[in-house]
């Protein structure tokens, strides 16, 4: 199981009068078979934290450890837009992020394409697929490297409600089946409550305001009373921290 330790993590952009604090002394411990959602208003540092965790950006100060059984853990990433190479087929997009192109690797990629119901679309180009299907390929690509921890940055925010709902279910099944640690950034509190067993609430200036445990059975449905109550409870936290106005 992956373990993430964040200590006094601080990130600033710009200098002097243009300086913007994106994350302010964040301390966190996450790990095991958990689905952690990071929520908060726009500009609160959610995506910055994810970019630092995945190595796309470096912190200004502080320390970060992502380990798996004492070794450096392998991360996977699902982006807001699928970010597929448009000039390569679906299968080649999965192979692009692999160490090799052996038969075993191909079989593994095919397995994850089938998990996202795109087993017969390996020879298609991304431009021949709908937005939802492209995002499925993005999810399959992240799972296909069999990461210890998976980072997801608002992966369903560009999709229509029906497709997003369908993908949320598929993602949750894959999380349950593979036992990964998933760190999921979203601005949709309902989505966070439906998917996660832990929700981190961030405020403007990159402050971690609250760390909420959602202790409800899976699978959850937005129409369930318990889920609606949990969602209302998280939204009350937003009011409490004055996050709704921002």
């Amino acid at each position: 199981m992956a373990e993430i330790k964040i200590r006094n993590l601080h990130k600033e952009f710009g200098t002097g009068a243009d300086k913007v604090v994106a994350l302010e002394d964040v301390n966190l411990d996450m790990g095991g078979h958990v689905f952690v959602s990071i929520v908060g208003p726009s500009g609160c540092g959610k995506s910055t934290l994810l970019n630092i965790l995945s190595g796309i950006e470096t912190p200004t100060s502080g320390s970060l450890e992502i380990t798996q059984s004492g070794h450096k853990a392998a991360p996977g990433y699902v982006f807001q837009a699928a970010r597929l190479l448009p000039w390569r087929t679906v299968m080649d997009n999965l192979l692009f992020v692999q160490q090799d192109k052996s038969d075993e690797t191909r079989a593994r990629c095919q397995k994850y394409l089938e998990m996202v119901q795109l087993g017969d679309k390996g020879d298609k180009f991304p431009g021949e697929l709908s937005g939802g299907m492209q995002q499925r390929v993005g999810i399959a690509r992240a799972f296909s490297i069999e990461p210890d921890v998976l980072f997801m940055d608002e992966p369903f925010s560009h999709l229509d409600a029906i497709t997003a709902r369908s993908l949320r279910r598929e993602l949750h099944t894959m999380w349950a089946d593979t036992g990964k640690t998933i760190i999921f950034v979203t601005h949709d509190v309902g989505e966070a409550v439906e998917l996660s067993n832990r929700i981190l609430v961030f405020a403007q200036g990159g402050r971690l305001e609250d760390d909420i445990t959602v202790d409800l059975d899976f699978p959850r449905d937005a129409a369930d009373e318990e889920v609606a109550i949990a969602k209302a409870s998280v939204l009350r936290k937003f009011e409490e921290f004055d996050l709704l106005a921002t």
Binding site: G55, I56, F96, K124, G132, M133, I162, T163, R165, S166
Partner: protein
């Protein structure tokens, strides 16, 4: 209980648009782009013949100077069958020019791509070359022709350098813009997955440059060809440009027009037999708007719409109206 209101059919609104009467098959053919394209050549021939007649009637000079389509056709056929009074036949002439064009084009693509990459990646390199490239862009091909003829005389060096100088600024500018517009998000994705830099260059940077390289190649070929013809005309002793001048000096307008037509045919063959097929192959990933291969979301839409409607029904307050 939930009431469902539906919109009345649009035809009952009183502003129904009458259905269009379908065109007949001959009318559809006449209006088609294929027919329009086929009509271009006859239209040119008619215009040509009418212009000849008008000129003959308007000015007082020897009408035999004007070339008729028939004379041009006979000239071209004679050239194709090697029945010519020119020192070199059509194939030798185009062979000489294509040799010069091929070498000059290759140099301009290789050198232009290298400099363009440097300018796109480094602000210092961009600053160094910027003014030179702008100066090259502004220089007319005629000036190069005279300048290079004086320096190199009548051998191959002048024409080849003319092709390079005419084409290279377009290659540099295109490649530089290509590098500047490479998709940053794909590089971030590659970094996040730990893809090695040589793999990133081969699979992300180069493919994203292909459209710019193709545009460069087209420009370099067409501009280089024009530059080559001009320098051969002014400072050559063989080649396609020189042969046009040969027919001009012989006062044979059909020769000048016929040779110019060979240029047009050459350009069309280059485009349709070489560049376009390569382009189609390299850019086969681009979806065509009319492509039947566009895959629609097909797996769960129906299932989810029904379920979503049930949920909406369950959550809406009693008596509310859901418009569909």
């Amino acid at each position: 209980m939930t009431a469902v209101a539906t919109k009345p059919p649009s035809s009952s609104s009183g502003t129904a648009i009458p259905p269009r009467r379908p065109s007949s098959a001959p009318m559809r053919f006449i209006k088609s782009p294929r027919f329009a394209r086929a009509m271009f050549l006859p239209a040119v021939l008619v215009f040509w013949l009418i212009s000849n007649k008008l000129i003959e009637n308007s000015w007082d000079f020897d009408s035999s100077v004007l070339a008729t389509p028939r004379e041009v056709w006979d000239f071209m056929w004679a050239e194709v069958t090697r029945d010519t009074v020119a020192p070199k036949d059509l194939y030798e002439t185009f062979g000489i020019s294509l040799y010069r064009l091929g070498i000059g084009f290759s140099i301009s693509m290789i050198l232009g791509t290298t400099i363009g990459l440097g300018m796109g990646l480094s602000r210092a390199v961009n600053a160094f070359f910027h003014d030179w490239v702008m100066a090259l862009l502004a220089m007319p091909a005629l000036a190069w022709a005279l300048f290079l003829s004086l320096i190199f005389g009548f051998d191959n060096k002048g024409p080849i350098i003319a092709v390079v100088l005419a084409g290279i600024p377009f290659v540099i500018v295109n490649v530089r813009e290509g590098v500047r517009s490479t998709p940053r998000d794909l590089f971030d994705m590659s970094n996040a997955f730990g893809v090695p830099s040589n793999k990133r260059t081969r699979h992300v940077l180069l493919p994203s440059l292909y459209p710019f390289l193709f545009a460069s190649a087209r420009y370099a070929l067409s501009i280089g060809w024009k530059g080559l013809v001009i320098i051969e005309l002014f400072g050559g002793q063989d080649g396609a440009g020189w042969t046009v001048k040969f027919w001009y000096d012989a006062h044979r307008l059909h020769g000048v027009i016929g040779y110019s037509m060979f240029f047009v045919i050459f350009a069309l063959v280059m485009e349709n037999a070489i560049l376009e097929p390569i382009s189609r192959r390299v850019f086969r990933w681009r979806p065509s708007l009319n492509s039947p291969d566009i895959v629609e979301e097909e797996m769960d839409a129906l299932y989810d719409v029904e379920e979503l409607n049930r949920e909406l029904d369950a959550n809406l307050p009693t008596g509310s109206t859901q418009e569909t």
